[in-house]
């Protein structure tokens, strides 16, 4: 029976009511928060929901749950499994093929390490009990599920470690056994026992006797689907890692079982034949979150649910390095890198340490030819060691096979493991090294061959009377790396004979693509008054498209002036986007220059000229000494900071073959501006200023000038440019209404969110597209978190610190000269309403982070700036703010002596009615106003004392005069709370009139 003794599900975030604030009453978000809070805490909600769901199920045989399918006779199914039931997976053939190959590879690697892999696929309930599914329209495609396609692959090339259990379960079902409960998604104890036996028999090579009497078993029904359908939540959270001690510690074997919720039910049986069993809920081997070492186990079981096959992730590189490590990588056959054939937008050149590949991005491909396929006797894995200058994704396809592999490349060296498909004697792999232009170094390519039948010692066949425990002793126990040489599971692969000609993967298609690619635009040398125009005609396929073993050895040859028009050489530089600013490193930047050409250049040289005058900035430098296949690429090192610039590129051996970039670009400072609406308004409020021509904004993956809009951003950028003379790029990824913490998610997103399409990841994508490095990050946020009223000072402080250190600095390159990427916090502005507590808490937290986290700075205090009476500053206030933040940046760059206004250094009670506040100046020497200063409060016993006047006593002292004498403990504060009195704030006499910073003396001040 279903146990309904559960707590009502609480899946909402509004656990506390939003704090009452007078002006927040005019904000829709307040009511949304309140409505949510009310719904969450409405006492009858649970019973009403239960009633509705009960009626839906029992009366209408339906449910609104997106996770449950109600079938015939009240049978419940996991909704995901119904998709499998519909059998419309024909478009997933490539994935099924890849999955089968992946399991072959894991099997061989595991066996090579002396261990045993068992793969089972837990059939969905709808596969074993289709008769109760009810009406579900058939899929309109191929009548195959992913499991069917996987089986096709496994049948064609048997996977020895595969323990197929759907047939077994069907047989038991025919015998009258109930293997799945009506209200459960997964098999019951009986089903688990049947599957466990299949696994055990696989471990012991079918030598384990079947047990046929399961009558004593408890079915172990949990009614998980019924719980979900009824809108109830289980009382205990499901753990993703569980350790089981075996019932006999003398058994030498240990096992790890990967799988889903159903896998836990296997553990009781497994723990009888292993010394210890770890059950990990993960569809990835190894798991991403637990850090387990595969080498610690003797048997690895992967029991994936049929409906989760699509998310199976086999991390070959980790499995290989964990189980085989360095020992097995020696003396493996090497693939001759001379067989690399550049095909499109790519060139390859042999270097001493590998093959240098220049790639223009997503379209670029080269072929790796004559790679041996796997066959029935030997399974092969190709390992590519490739070095990339930036994180990227490599894509590998195989001609004539449904084979597409994508592998992430990290910055630096990555070993990529590719299981090679079964097939002909040799394969041709077509490889796109990465989606961004860049230089790659293919260090090596090696083949690992594994014999079909491993020599892992198997357990002796147990006697019929032998218990599970006794039988398990028969399995050979091999610790990590033990006697690997002696077992020698690898089969050498003789290098394929060199072929005379080059067999490209898809020759017919490649040629026209190359020809399209090299259609030239008119090439105009602006220095030349006669303006040479190069023909637009389609040239023949360039000789450089030949494979590198032909082209690598060619002699430098001057271009022939008598060439036919089709052969007129030309060169075309790949342009940056108009207005792009590259982050400087020190005072210059190393700039990638690439492009295409027609002809036979000995080498390609490039220079940088000023965009407006064509004055040379970087002289002609050879950037590519071995351009090939119509591609050149190289680095222009040390391009000095400044702009705007243009590229010029030309053949070394024919200076008339030249191209002049048309898009201006520069080397300067990139600064991210993130936060919520006040940061957004920094780009949009006010048209008082005109942006400097060197100031550009990057948003929505476009570089744009600022024109006259956005006082804050323009004041900020202009001041930097006027002082530094550099282009400044502002990366604008602020989001209106965004919170920092999840509680402050007003459905506009929150910055701690790491989901795929979160505002943070969109920001990262923008930064990545802008080059991946920044010099500063400016953060202007806090209102959303303050408005909730539930985010404490500690919580915001912890979150902001984590955001800075674990997110921003971990994910974004530091383009500054400081140890850490500087993070500048603009303090939250004076609010138009709201309670003091939450607002003060956020400001305190911002101060804490600025003080305690290395290279975090308070970029500007803003309490003295006027807001529009709503949530945002006035346009003049934005101008002021822009100057203040610029001052901070200039200070950090060593261009200014100070960036903060005065601060309070001490408070002294002169007598019962007069208090002196001592201040310390940083930029100024005196302050204003001399009298009528506002914003000061004296609090005695939690009640404010009446302040009669606050005046300047001297340049370093402010005197507060009280109306009535005070006798007890008191404390003084300045600009405290949500809406402090800023009618006459203290500002110093520095050129920026910087404000006295807020102050709170929580202890009794000095008498």
């Amino acid at each position: 029976m279903v146990d309904l003794n559960f707590e009502i599900e609480v899946d909402r975030i509004g656990l506390e009511p939003p704090k009452f604030q007078a002006l927040a009453l005019l904000d829709n978000r307040y009511y949304r928060a309140f409505d949510q809070y009310f719904n969450d805490n409405f006492t009858l909600r649970g019973p009403l929901t239960f009633t509705k769901n009960w009626l839906d199920y029992h009366v209408f045989h339906s449910t609104d749950s997106s996770k449950v399918h109600v079938g015939a006779n009240g049978w419940l199914y996991d909704r995901k499994s119904i998709q499998v039931y519909r059998k419309e997976a024909c478009y997933q053939q490539a994935f099924a093929h890849k999955l089968a190959l992946g399991f072959h590879a894991v099997e061989k690697i595991v066996e090579a390490s002396g261990r045993r892999l068992i793969v089972t696929i837990a059939p969905d309930k709808s596969t074993i009990y289709p008769e109760f599914v009810g009406f579900v329209p058939k899929g309109d495609t191929c009548d195959s599920s992913l499991y069917d396609l996987f089986l096709e692959n496994v049948n064609a090339h048997p996977l020895e470690s595969f323990a197929r259990c759907d047939r077994l379960l069907r047989e038991w079902k025919k015998r009258g056994a109930l293997l799945y409960e009506k209200t459960d998604a997964h098999w019951n104890s009986l089903g688990a026992t049947v599957v466990s036996q299949a696994i055990v028999r696989k471990v012991y090579d079918q030598k384990w006797p079947y047990i046929s009497d399961f009558s004593s078993l408890d079915t172990g029904a949990s009614g998980d689907l019924m719980v979900e359908l009824m809108g109830l939540a289980a009382g205990t959270e499901e753990v993703s890692f569980k350790h089981f001690e075996g019932s006999d510690r003398s058994v030498p074997l240990s096992a790890v079982i990967y799988g889903d919720s159903s896998t836990l039910s296997l553990a009781p049986y497994m723990s009888k034949i292993f010394r210890e069993v770890d059950v990990i809920k993960s569809d990835s081997i190894p798991s991403k979150q637990h850090g387990e070492k595969l080498s610690s186990y003797d048997v690895i079981v992967f029991s994936v649910a049929e409906s989760r096959l699509r998310t199976t992730n086999l991390q070959l590189d980790k499995i290989f390095s964990d189980l085989c490590g360095e020992k097995l990588t020696d003396n493996r056959p090497w693939v001759d890198l001379q067989t690399v054939a550049p095909i499109l937008q790519v060139s390859a050149h042999p270097r001493a340490d590998g093959l240098e590949i220049k790639s223009l991005g997503g379209e670029s491909v080269f072929d790796l030819e004559s790679v041996p396929a796997s066959d029935d006797e030997t399974f092969r894995i190709l390992m590519l060691s490739i070095e990339s200058s930036r994180p990227d994704v490599m894509t590998i396809e195989c001609a004539g096979q449904p084979y597409t592999m994508r592998r992430s490349l990290k910055q630096g060296l990555t070993d990529v493991y590719l299981p090679l498909p079964f097939g002909h004697q040799s394969l041709c792999l077509r490889i796109n090294p990465g989606s961004h232009p860049g230089l790659f170094m293919l260090r090596s390519a090696r083949i690992f061959g594994f014999p079909r039948h491993s020599d892992v010692t198997l357990p002796t066949q147990p006697e019929q009377s032998v218990t599970m425990m006794e039988a398990s002793h028969g399995l050979r126990h091999v610790t990590s790396g033990e006697d690997l040489e002696s077992s020698e599971p690898f089969v050498d692969w003789p290098a394929p004979p060199q072929e005379d000609g080059v067999k490209k993967c898809i020759d017919e298609k490649a040629v026209p693509r190359i020809r399209r690619q090299i259609i030239r635009k008119p090439i105009l040398d602006r220095r030349n008054t006669s303006e040479t125009l190069v023909s637009h005609d389609l040239p023949p396929l360039p000789a450089e498209a030949k494979p590198m073993r032909d082209s690598a050895s060619h002699e430098p040859a001057p271009t022939d002036p008598k060439k036919s028009p089709e052969e007129i050489p030309s060169i075309n530089v790949t342009e940056y986007e108009e207005g792009r600013i590259l982050q400087r490193r020190g005072t210059s930047a190393d700039v990638l220059v690439s492009g295409t050409y027609i002809g036979v250049p000995v080498a390609v040289e490039a220079r940088v000229v000023k965009n407006d005058t064509s004055e040379q900035v970087v002289p002609w430098i050879v950037v590519d000494t071995s351009p090939e296949n119509g591609i050149f690429m190289g680095m222009l090192d040390g391009v000095p900071q400044g702009g705007w610039y243009d590229f010029q590129v030309r053949f070394v051996n024919d200076h008339n073959v030249i191209d002049h970039g048309m898009h201006k670009w520069g080397v300067g400072i990139l600064i991210a501006c993130i936060g919520q609406s006040n940061m957004k308004e920094w780009f949009h409020t006010g048209t008082d200023l005109e942006a400097h021509p060197l100031l550009f904004r990057y948003a929505n993956k476009k570089w744009l000038g600022l024109g006259k809009k956005g006082n804050g951003a323009i004041a900020f950028g202009n001041r930097l440019i006027n002082r530094l003379g550099l282009p400044v790029g502002l990366i604008d990824y602020s989001v209106n209404g965004s919170g920092l913490r999840k509680e402050a998610d007003w459905r506009m997103g929150y910055w701690e969110d790491l989901a795929e399409n979160s505002i943070y990841n969109r920001f990262l994508a923008g930064v990545s597209a802008a080059g991946g490095f920044l010099e500063f990050v400016i953060w202007m946020q806090g209102e959303a978190d303050a408005a909730r009223g539930t985010v404490s000072e500690v919580e915001y402080s912890t979150s902001l610190e984590r955001f800075v250190t674990k997110q921003v600095r971990a994910d974004i390159g530091n383009g500054s000269s400081r140890k850490n990427l500087p993070f500048l916090i603009v303090m939250m502005i004076k609010r138009p309403g709201g309670e003091d507590g939450p607002n003060q808490a956020i400001r305190n937290a911002q101060n804490n982070v600025a003080q305690n986290v290395a290279d975090c700075y308070l970029a500007a205090t803003t309490l003295d700036l006027k807001n529009q009476g709503t949530q945002h500053l006035t346009h003049r206030a934005y101008t002021n703010l822009g100057f203040r933040v610029a001052q901070t940046v200039l200070f950090l760059l060593g261009k200014e002596e100070y960036y903060r206004g005065p601060s309070v250094v001490g408070v002294t009670q002169i007598d019962t009615k007069n208090i002196d506040v001592a201040i310390r100046h940083r930029g100024g020497t005196d302050f204003t106003p001399a009298s009528g200063i506002s914003g000061w409060e004296v609090v005695t016993e939690d009640l404010p004392a009446f302040v009669s006047e606050v005046n300047r006593h001297d340049a370093q002292t402010i005197r507060i005069t009280l109306k009535d004498p005070i006798t007890g403990p008191a404390h003084v504060r300045y600009l405290h709370g949500a809406m402090p009195d800023t009618a006459n704030p203290v500002r110093d006499n520095s050129p920026l009139s910087l404000p006295l910073e807020e102050y709170e003396q929580k202890q009794e001040f000095q008498r």
Partner: protein
């Protein structure tokens, strides 16, 4: 705030009823309108917090202008013009500015020019309804059909009364002016109002939402996978959804009014029993139809200036009716479509036929035409509407889509079939209001059913089902 929400049903409404009747006991009804106004503004604040000032200030402006029109006879044209300008200006700005700017931007783009700097205007809910009410108030005063009220609270309550503030019915001041001053609350009326409200609630959460689930899937399908039967199923489901959704709101508004002693005019009269499009518009959204007739069609000349001018006037009024629903080409074309049908009926004399002639054929033709119109109304854009209509009228058969099978459950089918009886009802039946006031045994029995079964089930659907606001909330 949505009537069919937990907060409204279990917090707001009980509080209002409690305060309203407590006020009766404590101060003898002297402040009952003020109490209702306070809660009406709270109601609006909850749904459109930033626009309460717009509502309050524009109400006050019309209050003053109404008085000026009445008292300053020489310049009453001026005051009326000012009021019309203010009201239509606000309506155009909030409701149509985004659309107009977008059109302008596209035109400029086609000439290679760009238009930047426009920030999207947020639409305050209910503005279409309360603007029309205020306009009717000043125009009626100008025409001498009614006198202005001197009591600003009464006028503000007339504009902002929460039962009908968001989605009508559009009430004339003359209908409620006496009730604002003198009305007598009674238990019978309260009971009838409560029943009417529950009836509306049930229509919304049981019937309209069930039809809506089917319609949403059908209109959300990729048009390449849509076949004729699904298209018809979706369009008929939407036809039923919009009727039961909007009429449910009107029932609830009328019921709520009765709780506080008001009698609002009916807004629907079995529209799917109409025998012609002309008849349909006498039965559908009656308060809007009458408003358009009295304040646009008749001032344009009505049917008194010859056939062509009559047709033109019908087309104009229909287009206004369409665009009143929102700044979208589909609404505009939906209005023109109905205008075209009205003109056709008038030109061919179909609208003058006795209702019993060709009864079945005419009802079938009318409901088919209305259903096709709703496709235009429901579609995201013209291209979707055209393709959807093409699929409806060009036979195409695909297997039932999986998404559709998910919503074709017993609950939705049962409630949709109950809803479909609306297509077969006779043209005239007893009015709900009067029937419910009379204490017949059947009414008492129905009340027991409602309180014991229907209301708890509706509350359960609201608490446990997906949120589904009224369609007309966005107009």
């Amino acid at each position: 705030m949505v009537f069919s929400s937990i907060f409204f049903l279990f917090a707001f409404l009980p509080t209002v009823i409690l305060c309203y009747h407590a006020e009766r006991l404590l101060s003898g009804n002297g402040l009952r309108n003020a109490v209702l106004l306070f809660f009406s503004y709270m109601f609006y604040l909850y749904g459109a917090a930033g626009f309460l000032l717009v509502l309050a200030l524009s109400t006050f402006a019309d209050y003053l202008l109404g008085l000026l029109i009445d008292r300053d006879n020489r310049r009453k044209h001026l005051w009326l013009g000012l009021s019309v300008f203010l009201n239509t200006g606000l309506l155009v700005y909030f409701k149509y500015a985004n659309f107009l700017i977008e059109e302008l931007r596209e035109i400029l783009n086609s000439f290679g020019l760009s238009f930047v700097g426009w920030e999207e205007v947020i639409f305050p809910i209910g503005i279409s309804f309360f603007t029309f009410q205020k306009l009717s108030y000043v125009i009626d005063i100008y025409r001498g059909k009614s006198r202005p009220t001197t009591n600003v609270v009464d006028f503000a309550l007339y504009v902002a009364m929460f039962p009908q503030l968001i989605a009508g019915p559009i009430i004339r001041f003359s209908h409620v002016s006496k009730q604002l001053k003198k009305r007598k609350e009674s238990w019978n009326q309260f009971h009838a109002g409560a029943m009417r409200f529950c009836w509306g609630l049930a229509k919304k959460v049981m019937i309209a939402n069930s039809c809506g689930q089917i319609a949403d899937v059908a209109f959300g399908l990729d048009l390449h996978t849509l076949d004729t039967k699904t298209a018809w199923l979706g369009s008929l489901a939407y036809t039923l959804q919009i009727y039961f959704d909007f009429s449910a709101y009107s029932d609830m508004a009328i019921g709520l009014g009765m709780l506080f002693g008001f009698r609002f005019p009916e807004n629907f009269n079995l529209p799917y029993s109409a025998t012609s499009i002309t008849d349909f518009w006498r039965r559908w959204h009656i308060s809007l139809s009458l408003w358009l007739r009295d304040y646009i069609y008749i001032p344009l000349g009505g049917s008194r200036r010859g056939a062509f001018r009559t047709y033109l006037n019908l087309a104009i009024v229909s287009a206004v009716c369409g665009i009143w629903h929102g700044a979208n080409t589909t609404f505009f074309l939906w209005g023109l479509y109905h205008g075209g049908l009205l003109v056709l009926e008038r030109a061919t004399g179909l609208s003058d036929l006795p209702s019993e002639r060709y009864f079945v054929v005419r009802r079938f033709a009318t409901i088919t035409a209305v259903t096709a119109g709703w496709v235009l109304f429901r579609s995201e854009d013209i291209s979707q509407a055209i393709e959807f209509l093409c699929v409806m009228f060009t036979p195409r058969d695909f297997p039932v889509s999986y998404q559709l099978s998910l919503v074709l459950n017993y609950r939705n089918i049962v409630f949709s079939l109950i809803a479909a009886t609306a297509f077969f009802l006779p043209g005239e039946i007893l009015r709900h209001g009067s029937a419910m006031i009379e204490k017949r045994a059947v009414v008492i029995a129905a009340s027991a059913v409602v309180i014991l079964f229907l209301l708890p089930y509706c509350a359960a659907l609201i608490a446990g089902g997906p949120k589904s606001p009224f369609i007309y909330y966005r107009f």
